[in-house]
Symmetry: C2
DNA sequence: CCTGGCATGTAAGTAGTTACATGATTGA
DNA sequence: TCAATCATGTAACTACTTACATGCCAGG
């Protein structure tokens, strides 16, 4: 269900097309929710049928028509209800942990190589997040309540990636320090 | 695909029934991969058809027959190949972040209440993990390589929950400190 | 001339959830 | 008597991915 609400909240910020939504999911929104255009177009149809949004078709020359979607009053009410509704932290699914848990079949070198790759990915993501923080949130004290909430999603990412990075390093050190059997 | 390999690696440790596998997913394995019995039984049939495992049916009185599954040589080879194959860190999907990102529609109290709930969940999980660490891994220096790998999955959980906890607290403090507009 | 951006979709498949179903045994 | 545990499954559905499809325009 969350995809639908992610779309509603993006359209609440400003009406746009399916294509524009897909770009949002490729940007900051994608840091905590992902969706491809196929899924987005399907969801938009469903939401329109439910009466939570309306489309305005804008013909363009040389390009296919653009459908600009906007929230209806019912859509806004739904979104409002959803943000207040309690939710649970998600369960994790992590392939690397599954492989480490297999233990006996994995060589030390192979495990360290995998951890090093992961370390690099987290490092890259962290760099991205920190750059955004610097550019978009230079002075946290000046932020309004709503801006602070958005900022917290970024802080979440920064903390998360730093923590993953630290775990990878701890893990590599622990495996490297294992005496040969 | 990972579910199949999670099953293979559990059966590699020791052959067991679908029911037993489901219990594994309710335990430690569930900390980083989840599956219900319906999904497990379907996957077992698929894996058997592929020739990666074999079933031995054990009749029981008063209970339905038990199917004990064990890896074949082909299954073991597949598992061995999979653990070595590089994988990417998973993308996160987090409903709470989606709600914070909606910002404008969420009241301060509502956000703080949600964060407090999450804080509690992470606190509970952390307690569970730390108890397991104490009981199962009292002396890390003595662990073999394979045991260290398993231990690292637990360390991952401990670090993760501590970090989530810290973020929740940071978030609550930042929202609480917002001056009234 | 070819790539990338704009803009929309269908179709088929995989992964996972929810609901339903059966039936004996054991312990409170 | 009631709930829980053991042990297996089917059916229907939701969520998400991958592959395929169209067609014009702008810029290098």
């Amino acid at each position: 269900m969350s995809l639908e609400y992610a779309i509603l909240s993006t359209l609440f910020a400003s009406p746009c097309s399916g294509y524009d939504l897909a770009k949002q999911f490729d940007g900051s929104l994608g840091f905590f929710w992902q969706a491809r255009h196929q899924q987005i177009y399907r969801a938009l149809n469903k939401l329109e049928t439910q009466g939570w949004l309306v489309a305005e078709t804008i013909p363009q020359q040389g390009k296919p028509s653009k459908n600009i979607y906007a929230l209806t009053a019912a859509g806004r009410a739904e979104l409002q209800a959803w943000v207040q509704y309690p939710c649970e932290p998600p369960m994790l699914k992590n392939e690397l942990l599954l492989k480490l848990f297999a233990g006996e079949l994995l060589s030390r070198d192979c495990a360290i190589a995998a951890l090093t790759r992961h370390r690099q990915r987290h490092c890259d993501r962290l760099t991205t997040y920190e750059l955004i923080a610097q550019q978009d949130y230079p002075d946290v004290a000046q932020l309004s309540l709503a801006e602070r909430m958005k900022y917290l999603t970024l802080r979440n990412g920064i903390r998360y990636e730093r923590d993953r990075l630290a775990w990878c390093e701890e893990a590599i050190a622990l495996l490297a320090a294992t005496p040969d059997p």
